[in-house]
């Protein structure tokens, strides 16, 4: 069993890709699987900053939402093709990350969490008020991409299975990118800063600049998740930008395991699946997830995946 997990750890991107290719067949319906892909990516992007750098941001919904809205606006108001629309979403989110990061990184510890929450709300209210572009309270509607043109071949995006595999392709690329970043020298510096900022600075690393760089990367990945979400749902709900949405990324990371590579994805899958099941027989999902989350914070801070890994004693490069 242990060697199986070690094999996975060494080829984590490949392993997860293979698993995700059969994933829609074990989920009750494709839309749930797609949602898990999207929010798994969102949580992983968030976790770059949280689990690997130790910065708890409560404003990351701003990037998910910016990605969604900009992609949606590009398609609805400017009739851009899907590829360009996604690019617009990602770049917009990255710029947002630069701005929010620049303001927030001057603060530390819990102050950082408060500031990012409040800065995220600026984005929320901003998009809310820009009604003509965003649809305000009702969200943006009509983000319809019926057919994708991939290398000249038209692909039916409305088919849920096809939609899943297209989104999977993008998510796999992004996850591969995250993996590369974590294995790179920057990844090592990130962890060093998380472990001991003073020592990292004494070694010559510009801590502020590194934090900002990772903030931007994290925002871009969350923006990509948002862009995909807009294409998936064909609408962009205004709640995408609210801090409760940011809280969802936090919860997914803790549930799954914030110190690990797969953890946030596992957390997203568990949380969304659980929501799907629980909401069929109760309206009080909010209380359920609140209690589950508190339980994990108190008793299982390593999260599901983190606990599994540490039980198998795979903590070095356990991501």
């Amino acid at each position: 069993m242990k060697s199986f997990f070690q094999l996975i750890a060494r080829h984590r991107v490949l392993a997860s890709t293979l698993f995700l290719m059969i994933f829609p067949f074990i989920m009750p319906y494709e839309a749930l699987a797609i949602n898990i892909l999207i929010f798994g990516l969102f949580a992983m992007g968030f976790n770059l900053l949280f689990g690997y750098m130790g910065l708890l941001s409560f404003g990351h919904a701003a990037f998910l939402g910016t990605g969604s809205y900009l992609t949606g606006i590009a398609i609805v108001h400017y009739a851009m093709p899907w590829g360009a629309a996604i690019l617009v979403g990602v770049i917009g989110a990255a710029i947002g990350g630069l701005l929010m990061g620049f303001l927030a990184i001057r603060t530390r510890g819990i102050y950082f969490s408060m500031v990012t929450l409040a800065l995220g709300q600026i984005v929320f209210y901003g998009f809310y008020k820009a009604e003509s572009l965003t649809g305000g309270e009702n969200g943006l509607r009509g983000v319809r991409v019926d057919t994708f043109n991939i290398l000249g071949m038209p692909v039916d995006f409305l088919n849920p299975m096809i939609k899943y595999y297209i989104i999977l392709f993008v998510v796999v690329l992004a996850v591969w990118l995250i993996s590369r970043i974590l294995n790179s020298p920057l990844g090592a510096v990130m962890e060093a800063i998380r472990e001991n900022e003073k020592r990292a600075a004494a070694c010559g690393f510009d801590v502020t600049r590194t934090k900002l760089l990772v903030f931007i990367l994290s925002a871009a990945i969350c923006g990509l998740a948002g862009s995909l979400r807009a294409l998936h749902l064909s609408i962009v709900p205004i709640d995408s930008l609210h801090y409760l949405q940011s809280g969802q990324a936090v919860m997914m990371s803790i549930l799954g395991g914030m110190g690990t590579f797969f953890g946030p994805f596992v957390g997203a899958a568990v949380m969304l699946y659980l929501e799907d099941v629980v909401t069929t027989f109760t309206k009080h999902w909010m209380a359920v997830i609140g209690l589950v989350f508190m339980f994990f914070v108190l008793f299982f801070p390593q999260g599901i995946w983190g606990t599994i890994l540490s039980k198998l004693k795979l903590n070095q490069d356990s991501k």
Partner: protein
Amino acid sequence: MPMVEGEFFLSKYMTGLTFELLCMQLLTGIALGSIYALLALGLCLVFGMLNVVNFAHGAFFMVGAFMGVYFLGITGNFWFSLILTPIATGVLGLLTERYLVRPLYGRGIDYPLLLTFGLSYVLIEAMRVTFGIEGLPSVTPDGLKGTMDVGVGFFPKYRLFLIAATAVIIFAVWFFIQKTKYGLIIKAGAVDQEIVKVLGVDIAKVWLLVFGLGCAIAGLSGILASPTRSVNPEMGIPILAESFVVTVVGGMGSAVGAVVAGLLVGVVYSMTSLFFPDLAELSIFVLMAVVLLIRPQGLFGKSGAMG
């Protein structure tokens, strides 16, 4: 545009901006700001002593509002409710600290924050279950209904009461912290917990008390605010964000900052809603962003501590 004596035309939203109107709006801002000041003060106390940001602060505010209306409903007496409510939320706070937050102290600064965030979800849902998702109709207590002539116009009596009441409460908290021996212990403990332990004080009791006090203040803010807004389970959600804005503007850990910034934020909100009603919510967040840009430690925060 011709200037008529006593009136000036400013934006297309205004048909007659007068000095009186400005004063009234200022007063409204102070009333709103009083609530913010009280809320931020509660947050600051808990942070100063326990190094914990209570992400359920807005939820406790909301619970306080519900408790207030509920107690008013069963006792018929606003003053009773005003006393019972903070006791109720305070006790809830005591239980929270003792059983949910305390186990997390050694772990890392983020954990209590995360826990209280989860707690807020449970509190919101609890109120939905108890009082319904629509909430309760807000009630202005009988003696404080109607308006009063304040010289520049007729201003709601309740809001005047609000300003006065929060001033008294803030003064009481100040007095408690600065002038009583319990307050001294709290202040000392905020600076150095070891010293307090060495002096034979059970530091755990202090944590308990301070957290409970913070939640009591949140609940008190809730009942005080309840006649001025709709009482529903979601009312605390934006309040949390607004409390953070006040804290950032005032300076983390500064009680004076909390009060001054609270009033400032209330006034900014109020004045903006006069000239640019659409942008009122946005304006206070923009204020915060500006403060972050030029003075990251806040108006009264210590330089180097944060920035």
